[in-house]
């Protein structure tokens, strides 16, 4: 039997993107729940954030949980695409 789970809904702080993502990683390490990250306030991401995103994708794959990103703007989406990360996340509008 499979259970339907409600994903943990986490807002990414636009001023501390990398730190927010790091906290998500920690949560993910400690649980097996799907996560949905709200990027609605994030206008730009830096190389450090990208590194954490990569780590997050790896963790999600390892734990077989779904990591979704919500409200990602076009510029950030393009960065994720160029960094080959889009295929490792789900995107919600």
């Amino acid at each position: 039997m499979t259970m339907t789970t409600v994903p943990a809904y986490l807002e990414i702080d636009a001023d501390q993107v990398s730190e927010s993502l790091q906290r998500v990683c920690e949560k993910l390490t400690a649980s097996h729940d799907d996560v949905c990250l709200d990027f609605a306030n994030v206008r730009r991401i830096g190389p450090d954030s990208l590194k954490v995103m990569e780590k997050l994708a790896g963790l999600a794959e390892e734990k077989a949980v779904k990591a979704s990103l919500r409200g990602v703007n076009v510029n950030v989406y393009r960065v994720l695409k160029l960094a080959r990360l889009t295929s490792r996340f789900s995107f919600l509008s």
């Binding site: 830096g46 190389p47 510029n75 393009r78 960065v79």
Partner: protein, 882 residues
């Protein structure tokens, strides 16, 4: 032997992958930066580079042992300050240029990761230059310095990187390989995440870059010829050459290599060189230099001489020169392997050649240019503009420097207004992709956002159109000294010529020229021109059907412009405004053309077309130009009252076809639509009456107007596939044009109303609208129908009914053409129809198979037409944009 990256260890591959991954992430992040962000980073980088210019110069000299520290410091300053001066106001992010009048906007996009090779000769300046370009364009760079300049380049990259990151550039934007090998370079050159290779280095590095299959910028080797011509300012020239050739001990690849001097000034020039501290070699010394500083095996310069002082080179080879000698100048007597000093020498050794003439001087410069320096740089000193221009034409060089030093001149921004650079594109001559002074625009993908534009259209008609019964009386208002009436025998017999003569002003001398009632050939045209010349005519009255009026148009053309070549003017074209052949505008004579039509079909009295028979090639050709349009059209129904029934039907259907085809043409406009619609309405109403009651003056008049109005529409919107089919079929089986049109008409409406297999490019239309225009015509005729499809069906039915009323055969078969004959003719018919320009304005592009099917539909006959394939149940509106 090709370098094999497969020899790399796993650890090395992981290291290189790490570099690329870091650069890729930085490049990805960089895409979010605005122009302001970028400019905010560039300026402090430039200041940091300027601050460290001398420090980096010293490092470079210590490590490479090449060049002059003061000059290297200057190069570092040029690479920062001068490059900044050029780029500071340039837009390199987002929209960089706009062309509102063309609807085009250029948008800059970064390349991503650039793999950049830098040379030993200009190590730190090249790094500084490329770092500034990369940040200005939002790219990440992995540097691979020449192994003998690794430390100084690493330091230059570090200085730039720290300044950039401090001011907001993404971390990882620059990296610099250390202790690297050719295998490392090969690995990175082939890496999928490297977008561009920028190879400033020796021929090996450049060749490897281009061989990688990646987009690459490369520099070619130089061998700069200099032509010192007798009109030059010799004082300036000699100082410039010394300045340039000694700059950084001659390590700039654009520096002068062989100076070709006019005989008359040769001795004076050499004396000046000597006076300014150069050593002029005698023949033995020149031979010694040639044997020692050039490798006799390879024919290339010896590395031990590169970037060394003249005195050091002299000491190395045992040549006695004064202390502080600036340059060693060696006379040569030719170019090539037998003359070793004629090649590139990146040290202060300069070859000189005495030329006996300008021709010889240019030829020797060409020889030097081809001896290893194609596409690079050349220099000319002269006050003679013609010589400067000629030199620019015959020398293959991306930079032709005039009256200035070659090396500093080529760098740009100091002696001229060229773009400052440290990378010289040498074009295909040097095996490069560009002749540019490589600059920021070479580091960008420039995208063009092109908005849809509407082609300018036109609506042109003759100046004057007179219509209704007795309109011919208006001839009275056209003064003429000598008029020729062009007509056919029938017009003369039935008295129409006499009617026309009656209204020509009494003082006018009138001559009548009767021509056969058939499409004219060149003989008929030239006979007419002869008569026009003989009578010095100032007015031509064409009285007849389309053939007569067309003949008169061509006579007028040849009369006014005797040099006009009718065959050439009949050349095919797609767009009247872009046609290759232009109609003459210079006129030796002037004659007013008045066209009086005696049929109600072609509308030739207002069209810019003339059909001519080309007997030599057994074909008909159509000439088209608005200059062919008659000046005056007279649409007087008294001249069509006696048209027989068959002619009334055929010409009436020709008129309807013109209107229907112009109505759905891709060149249609609101101007042509209004004429097409009105003509359709008049034909459906008055053609049956004209046919059944030829004496009905109103019906005849309205049909005559309809023909003229339809012709105005198709003169501006053109016709369509119906005409292409009819031309082919009519010519093959000898069927009158109007009748041939009639046989095709319902099938073509159905064809155009269905979903096209292939759409016709039509920038002036929004979506496919032919079916809707047919529906509009059905509405205009009050045919009923709720949907577009029903209305189209009703239009087809009404057209078929009209054809039945006019006793037009229902099929090609009914005309007595056997199936076997028709089947045999089909391949030729299809080929001819496809070659016919008429369909180029048809809304639906006909495939060859579709032309075949249209012919067969016409063969099977009316009633077989359907608006869509039986299998295709969807309505057009479901398929097409509305």
């Amino acid at each position: 032997m090709p370098v094999n990256a497969a020899n790399l260890s796993e650890e090395r591959v992981a290291y290189l992958e790490g570099l690329v991954s870091q650069a890729r992430a930085a490049a990805a992040v960089f895409t979010q930066y605005t122009q302001e962000d970028v400019d905010h980073i560039v300026k402090p980088m430039v200041l940091a580079g300027l601050e460290q210019a001398q420090y980096l110069a010293r490092l470079a000299i210590e490590e490479t042992k090449l060049g002059v520290v003061e000059d290297k410091a200057i190069k570092n300053m040029v690479a920062t300050e001068f490059v900044y001066d050029y780029v500071k106001d340039k837009r390199t992010v987002g929209v960089i240029r706009e062309f509102p009048e063309r609807g085009v906007v250029e948008v800059a996009d970064p390349i991503g990761v650039i793999f950049s090779l830098t040379p030993i000769t200009n190590p730190t300046s090249t790094v500084l230059f490329k770092c500034i370009m990369a940040i200005k364009t939002r790219n990440a760079v992995i540097f691979s310095p020449h192994p003998s300049a690794g430390r100084c380049c690493f330091e230059a990259v570090r200085i730039m990187y720290e300044a950039a990151v401090k001011h907001g550039a993404p971390e990882g934007v620059f990296t610099c390989l250390q202790g690297h090998t050719l295998e490392d370079n090969a690995y990175l050159m082939h890496h999928k995440d490297v977008g561009l290779i920028d190879a400033t280095g020796g021929p090996g590095a450049v060749k490897a870059a281009y061989s990688s299959g990646k987009p690459a910028l490369g520099v070619g080797p130089g061998n700069t010829p200099v032509y010192l011509e007798k009109t030059a300012d010799l004082n300036m020239a000699v100082v410039d050459i010394i300045t340039s050739k000694t700059f950084d001990n001659g390590t700039i690849c654009a520096s002068e290599q062989t100076v070709v001097i006019d005989d008359g000034i040769y001795d004076r020039v050499l004396t000046k060189f000597a006076e300014l501290g150069c050593h002029i070699c005698n023949e033995d010394e020149a031979a010694l230099l040639g044997r020692t500083v050039i490798d006799p095996k390879t024919g290339f310069m010896q590395p031990m001489a590169v970037g060394q002082k003249a005195t050091d080179i002299a000491r190395m080879i045992g040549l006695s020169v004064k202390p502080n000698t600036k340059l060693l100048i060696a006379p040569i007597h030719g170019v090539g392997r037998e003359h070793p000093l004629s090649v590139e020498k990146l040290f202060p050794v300069l070859a000189v050649y005495r030329a006996q003439s300008v021709d010889e001087a240019m030829k020797v410069c060409i020889d030097v240019n081809h001896a290893g320096g194609l596409g690079h740089t050349a220099v000319v000193f002269s006050r003679n503009e013609a010589i400067i221009q000629k030199f620019g034409e015959v020398i293959n060089a991306g930079r032709i420097i005039v009256n200035s030093p070659g090396s500093i001149g080529a760098l740009g921004g100091v002696y001229n207004d060229m773009v400052p650079t440290f990378s010289f594109g040498c074009g295909t001559g040097g095996g490069n992709s560009t002749t540019d002074n490589v600059n920021v625009y070479n580091y960008l993908n420039i995208k063009r956002v092109a908005r849809r534009t509407q082609a300018h259209m036109w609506f042109r008609i003759p100046n004057q159109i007179y219509f209704n019964i007795n309109a011919v009386e208006n001839l009275r208002h056209f003064p003429s000294r000598s008029t020729i009436i062009i007509t056919n025998p029938a017009m003369e017999q039935i008295g129409h010529v006499d009617i026309v003569r009656r209204y020509v002003p009494a003082e006018t001398l009138v001559h009548v020229s009767v021509i056969p009632d058939a499409e004219p050939d060149i003989t008929i045209v030239m006979q007419g021109v002869e008569a026009l010349n003989f009578y010095k005519a100032d007015q031509i009255i064409a009285l007849g059907g389309g053939s007569v009026i067309d003949a008169a148009k061509l006579m007028k053309l040849k009369y006014e412009s005797p040099e006009a070549d009718l065959q050439e003017l009949a050349a095919p074209f797609l767009d009247l405004r872009k046609r290759v052949v232009q109609y003459p505008t210079n006129k030796t004579s002037n004659a007013r053309l008045v066209a009086i039509s005696t049929t109600s079909g072609t509308g030739s009295e207002v069209t810019p077309f003339a059909v001519m028979t080309d007997k030599q090639h057994g074909r008909k050709v159509t000439l088209a130009d608005y200059s062919l349009s008659p000046d005056v059209a007279i649409v007087d129904p008294q001249f069509v009252m006696s048209m027989p029934k068959g002619l009334t039907a055929d010409t009436g259907i020709d008129c309807l076809t013109h209107a229907l085809e112009a109505g759905v043409s891709i060149f249609g406009s609101p101007y042509t639509d209004s004429n097409a619609m009105q003509a359709i309405r008049l034909v459906f109403r008055y053609l049956p009456i004209s046919y059944e009651h030829p004496e009905n003056e109103e019906a005849r008049g309205m049909m005559h107007n309809a023909a003229c109005i339809a012709a105005i529409a198709f003169s501006n919107a053109s016709v369509g596939v119906n005409h292409a089919l009819a031309h082919a079929f009519g010519a093959r089986f000898g069927v009158a044009h109007g009748r041939a049109n009639a046989l095709m008409l319902p099938h073509v409406i159905a064809f155009n109303a269905a979903v096209p297999t292939k759409f016709m490019p039509s920038p002036n239309q929004r979506g496919y609208i032919a079916h809707k225009k047919y529906a509009m015509m059905a509405d205009l005729l009050g045919l009923g129908g709720k949907t577009v499809e029903e209305k189209v069906q009703n239009l087809i039915a009404a057209t078929e009914h009209l054809l039945d009323q006019l006793a037009v055969p229902r099929s090609i078969a009914e005309m007595g053409i056997s199936r076997e004959d028709f089947e045999r003719a089909i391949p030729d018919l299809v080929k001819t129809a496809f070659d016919d320009p008429s369909w180029r304005s048809n809304p639906r592009m006909p495939l060859l198979s579709e032309l075949t099917e249209l012919f067969w539909s016409a063969y099977r006959g009316r009633g077989a037409a359907k608006t869509a394939d039986a299998a295709q149940k969807k309505t057009v509106d479901e398929w097409l944009c509305v």
